[in-house]
């Protein structure tokens, strides 16, 4: 059981939210205790946050390799099971194999990229989560994990920086 509390500070604009992140760091909260939630993609640099890690590029590469190997199997192995003479071409022809390899490599890469987003984001997830619908109306929220003793200081700092609301984050069914 964690004895940490979760606070949700909601800002109407980007600049005060970025200042709030800086202030929270000054109050002794590490980046791992903060999460920024927004209705549009805000880059880490804008908020002064560390770079977010994503496995999607590696998964895409893996998918491309898998697709290439499947294409190679279809293009180079399956013709030997039932050799067909097509217009005097070799049983395993060069240029047509490029088509099969290209399509399956691309398919593998794109499917694994799509699946990668699901895996990295843990989609689908229908369990209750800390969220307020105002976020999709353009608000920027900072989810803060803090000691109960820090709550008052954080709340007053966030309010001073222009937070519309600072409250205990309650997990709710989305």
């Amino acid at each position: 059981m964690t004895d940490k509390n979760m606070l949700l500070a909601v800002f109407s604009d980007l600049d005060p939210a970025a200042h709030a992140v800086e202030k929270l760091r000054e109050l002794g909260l590490g980046d791992e205790h903060l999460n920024v939630i927004s209705g549009i993609p805000i880059t880490e640099a804008m908020m002064g946050r560390p770079h977010q890690w994503t496995n999607v590029p590696r998964l895409a590469l893996g998918g491309a390799l898998g697709g290439f190997l499947l294409g190679a199997y279809l293009a180079f192995v399956t013709p030997t099971t039932y050799p067909l003479n097509v217009g005097g071409q070799p049983v395993i022809p060069g240029p047509p194999s490029v088509v099969v390899l290209f399509e399956l490599t691309m398919l593998g890469m794109l499917i694994s990229t799509f699946v990668g987003v699901f895996l990295d984001s843990r989609f689908p997830s229908y369990t209750p989560k800390e969220y307020v619908p105002e976020i999709s109306d353009g608000r920027i929220a900072i989810l803060i994990e803090c000691d109960p003793a820090q709550e008052v200081a954080i709340e007053s700092a966030m309010t001073a920086l222009g937070a519309e609301s600072v409250k205990h984050a309650e997990a709710q069914t989305l």
């Binding site: 099971t81 097509v86 843990r122 976020i135």
Partner: protein, 480 residues
Amino acid sequence: MAVLANSATHAHTSEQDHEAHLREEHLMLDPRPRGEMNAMVMESMQTTSWKFWVAAGIMAILVAVCLFYYWGYMIANGLGVAGVNRPIYWGIFLVNTVFWIGISHAGTFVSALLRVFKAEFRRPFTRAAELMTTFGLVQAGLSIFMHMGRVWLSYWLAPYPNQRGLWPNFHSPLAWDFLAINTYLLSSTMYLFLPLIPDLAMARDRSTGWRKTLYRILALGFRGTEGEWTHLRFAMNLFAFAILPVMFSVHTIVSWDFAAAMRPGWSSTIFGPYFVIGALQSGLSAVAMVLIVVRATMKNMKYFIRPEHLDGLGKLMLIISMSWAYFFFNDYMVQWYNGDKWTDALLHFHEEGPLGWMWYAMLIFNVAVPWLTLWNKNWRRNPTLLFTVGLLVNIAMWFERYIIVPTSLSINRFPFTYQFYKPGVEIPLTIGTISFFILLYMLASRLIPLVPVWEVQEGQMAHSLRKFGKETVVTVSDLE
């Protein structure tokens, strides 16, 4: 002094007018609060008049009769009820396949290429275009299944291990078609879904009842955390770059169905790019037509889709029309010049045969009409005129495929087999696919936010007005 003061006041007023004009002109400079834009998009989805349901009902009846009944009739009676027969084994079904794949190209072109090049005017209509890709490919797929005749054996096309050790023949462009079309259909559907997730979450947050349940399931639990956006942003960028070569490959491979055959009129090395340009020609025109209909019939869409967007699409249509004319002439010139008597006979048959009017209509609608109208800014921004040009271009592109497929098959190197193509059940089935496309689009427009609100807001954040000397100009910041 008074003169100077008057002059300064006049300059100030004129500057304000200029700024007001820029804001009215460009969606990106006319921001509204995100909540208001969300409400506008939700209202556009949820507001349906009786006219909508009458139109949807007519489309549903056309789909039931022209698509399902006649297809069932053809399955029960065999391909003989269609007009395909010696020497024309490829008829309207394949005309429609090529046509619908062409329509599907524009969605990806508009969305991916303009995203890669950061063309800002794309933002409000990328989704409307992407939907066309998916629904266009559905019609292309249906047309291929119709052409097969024995649809219940269509799984033979799929490469899977089986008892007989038989695999599809990967020497054949038809097998490449199977791979390319499926790759494109899957990729474009995934590419449609990824940027839709944040908008589905938006819709989830402001819906009730069955819509809430639907959007909750489809939004997958998206909240907009930094991690979620990072994964999504990377995936969308990768898709935008990777789906373009897939798009080009699909129509090139479709062209090889023809070009790989040693037939007069078909065997051509330019067919790949010529088909790709043809696809963009019809697809972009279809995007313009759809946007004009959406803008005219859906609530609040006049805010999101403005004359500047029609103007941008009109310019693209003009450029693509010129490119199409270039590729057409290149193909025609080389065939005309080579002096082969069968090719010469075919070219004469195209121009002077019973369907010569179709050949001339193709050139007039594809070249003369866009060139004579779309050079003019005011005409490009006129919805009625742009819709008419788009419709004529699409008719012309359907004619082009008709000339390439059944008309070119009518005559060959065996004069005793010459035959004129008389379509049968293909005509209602064609009406059926068009109706099905319209019906799917109509239903989707009431279920899916057609405008990617988060992309519009992101664009509005990046745009501003800046003064260079005395001139106020639009500037865009690169937020990525």
